[in-house]
């Protein structure tokens, strides 16, 4: 017997949980402190937003909400590595990436507040909206990447799935498409260890999830998903490869879902408390702060200022969301087709008449 192919999966980490910089070849971003400070500020803003959103749900001012607690490094790592012209195909909790790309906090709240206007968000207009049917965004990203390739553009598409999503056909079919067509794309797996109540080990007996990319012959690696520098560096390199026409990359970012799956979930039913407590020591914001502080780039005063300004910014977004009103009965009909069929026109008129009567 002879070996016809062999593979390996690398793991990339630059910042240890203690905030120490490790690794032989340090990327430039590791000492670009102005950039890192602004990233840290966005991480804190995102977490402030997240805890406010959960509070809004608990007080009946928001619908079910999917928290991003603990994912700040990986999400902002993805968002900040991408160019504006790239296309982002998120799942439904990558707010940090989206904030970096210009989506407004009030728009995220609008979406979870039951209002389609939330998905008509700011930022690059070609980005995909949130995608609740798991992993279908991966083939959409492959299609966007195909469009870029056919048009000869130097752009790429980035999709995100979770550890659960990596079990789905669309993820695997997107890997295969990226492979068969040499597509300019990056397939991120944000492995936060839990798909609602099902742990990572029940998704696959494979040692890594990244290795699913190897089946398509794609470069595939793991990164420490709580290490912003590692995520940014890996995504940046994968994008560069895509821009150069060399095809797609699969990146599995290892992180941990510190929150419930959504506000409709209670993780204490299936997840041991000590596991969550243990995971807290690896969380991304703490280590970034330690790194900045040990390099004299951050201090308590700046931290307090940041917490205050973040809180204020979030409050403004909440005000905007709470005053956004009702999208109106006509809006249910108006965006169904480019030209409304007359049958629908009649239903719209009926609904408007009902509305007028109930208001009158």
């Amino acid at each position: 017997m002879t070996t016809v192919a062999s593979f390996n999966i690398d793991y990339l980490q630059y910042l240890t949980p203690n905030g120490e910089l490790v690794g032989d070849k340090k990327p430039r971003i590791a000492t670009d402190f102005e950039k890192l400070k602004s990233i840290y500020e966005l991480m804190v803003l995102t977490r402030t937003f997240d805890s406010k959103a959960v509070a809004l749900q608990r007080t009946g001012k928001l619908g079910t909400y999917a928290s991003c607690l603990g994912h700040e490094a990986v999400h902002i790592g993805i968002g900040s590595a991408m160019a504006e012209s790239d296309v982002f195909a998120p799942m439904y909790r990558e707010y940090g990436a989206q904030f970096y790309r210009g989506v407004k906090m009030s728009e995220v709240l609008n979406y979870w507040g039951g209002d389609e206007r939330g998905s008509n968000f700011s930022g690059p207009q070609h980005d995909f909206p949130w995608c609740v049917p798991i992993a279908t965004q991966c083939t959409h990203a492959a299609g966007a990447a195909m469009a870029m390739k056919l048009r000869g553009e130097k752009r790429a598409a980035v999709s995100v799935v979770g550890d659960g999503g990596s079990s789905k056909g669309d993820f695997l079919e997107a890997i295969n498409a990226a492979s068969a067509f040499t597509l300019p794309m990056v397939l991120m797996i944000v492995n936060n260890q839990w798909a609602i109540s099902v742990p990572r080990k029940k998704q696959s007996a494979g040692r890594t999830l990244a290795q699913k990319g190897l089946a398509g012959g794609l470069p595939s690696l793991q990164v420490d998903g709580n290490d912003y520098i590692a995520v940014y560096t890996a995504v940046r390199a994968a994008l560069k490869r895509a821009y150069e026409g060399k095809g797609a990359t699969v990146i599995e970012a290892i992180t941990y879902r510190l929150s419930d799956h959504t506000t409709a979930d209670d993780a204490s039913r299936y997840r041991p408390d000590d596991e969550v407590e243990n995971a807290r020591q690896f969380e991304p914001i703490k280590r970034m702060r330690k790194y900045l502080m040990s390099n004299k780039q951050w201090n308590e005063q700046l931290e307090n200022q940041l917490l205050e300004t973040s809180k204020k910014e979030v409050e403004e977004a909440v005000d905007e969301y709470l005053s956004s009103g009702n999208p109106g009965v006509a809006s249910m009909f108006d965006y169904m087709f480019a030209d409304m069929p007359h049958t629908l026109e009649a239903q719209k008129q009926y609904a408007l008449d009902l509305e007028e009567k109930s208001n009158g």
Binding site: E116, N120, G143, A144, E173, A177, Y335, M336, T343
Partner: protein, 326 residues
Amino acid sequence: MAKVTLVEAVTMAMDHELGHDKDVVIMGEDVGINGGVFRATKGLAQKYGEDRVIDTPLAEAMIAGMAVGMATQGMKPIAEAQFMGFIYPMVEHIVCHAARMRNRTRGRLTCPLVIRAPYGGGIHAPEHHSESTEALFAHIPGLRVVIPSSPTRAYGLLLAAIRSPDPVIFLEPKRIYHWSKEEVENDGEEYPLDMCYVIREGEDVTLVTWGAMMKETLEAADKLAEQGISAEVIDVATISPLDMDTIAESVAKTGRCVIVQEAARHCSLSSEIAANLADQGLYDLQAPVKRVTGYDVIMPLFKMEKKYMPTTERILQAVNQVLEVS
């Protein structure tokens, strides 16, 4: 002007749009050098290259998902499901994304794609190659569902489908792919979607149908004419959104209606048309609406498929029933 079959008219329409709009691409299994299993894309890969007429990996969900992705980025993909029996892995993308994209982003992103699929029975095909499940798609808000029944309408309606800014499911009745030839000018002239076509005028009874059952319906109309009964024949053509006005207008004139479909009866397009006639046209009706349909059974394998499919005789029988009522 060339005389072409329905499937050749489908090819002509795609050829025309590939030649006139660089955003149009075809994608699917065997659509490239092989020209499709029914030859619907014959010669197109050779003419436009493999970047415009794209053979994909064998993965229907991927084809539909990529088509959604490409369409949101401004391309106009024509994706082929090789047979309607293989469209089901695509359904998640069609229902959860293509149909919703414009609405859920308030028009920020749109999904101008076409999914073509040969459908229907009667060609002695293997299992899963003969069903008529068009009503599944007609039920989904946000889709246009189009079924041609002649070469002329296949050409004009497919042009309109490709140019439509909305997602279109374009179902091709493969039993009549080669049934008749018509002179079709490749002039880029589209036919309007969202309307039914009165293809034969008559006074005594309205026959409503679509797709391959047009063959038996026209045969029935011919036989009725021999008996001095004048049947008006309507091709529904776009089954969703449904142009009830044309149907109701015809029934107001004839007072009698028979709906003919190959699909199973329960919760089908014929149910919708009959319900609308009860609502809009009850007082115009001089007899109950009759439906000639497939049975509510699994489409049988080909030894028995002729026993499943509605026949000219069954249509005539239904017409006689509605004419007997006075």
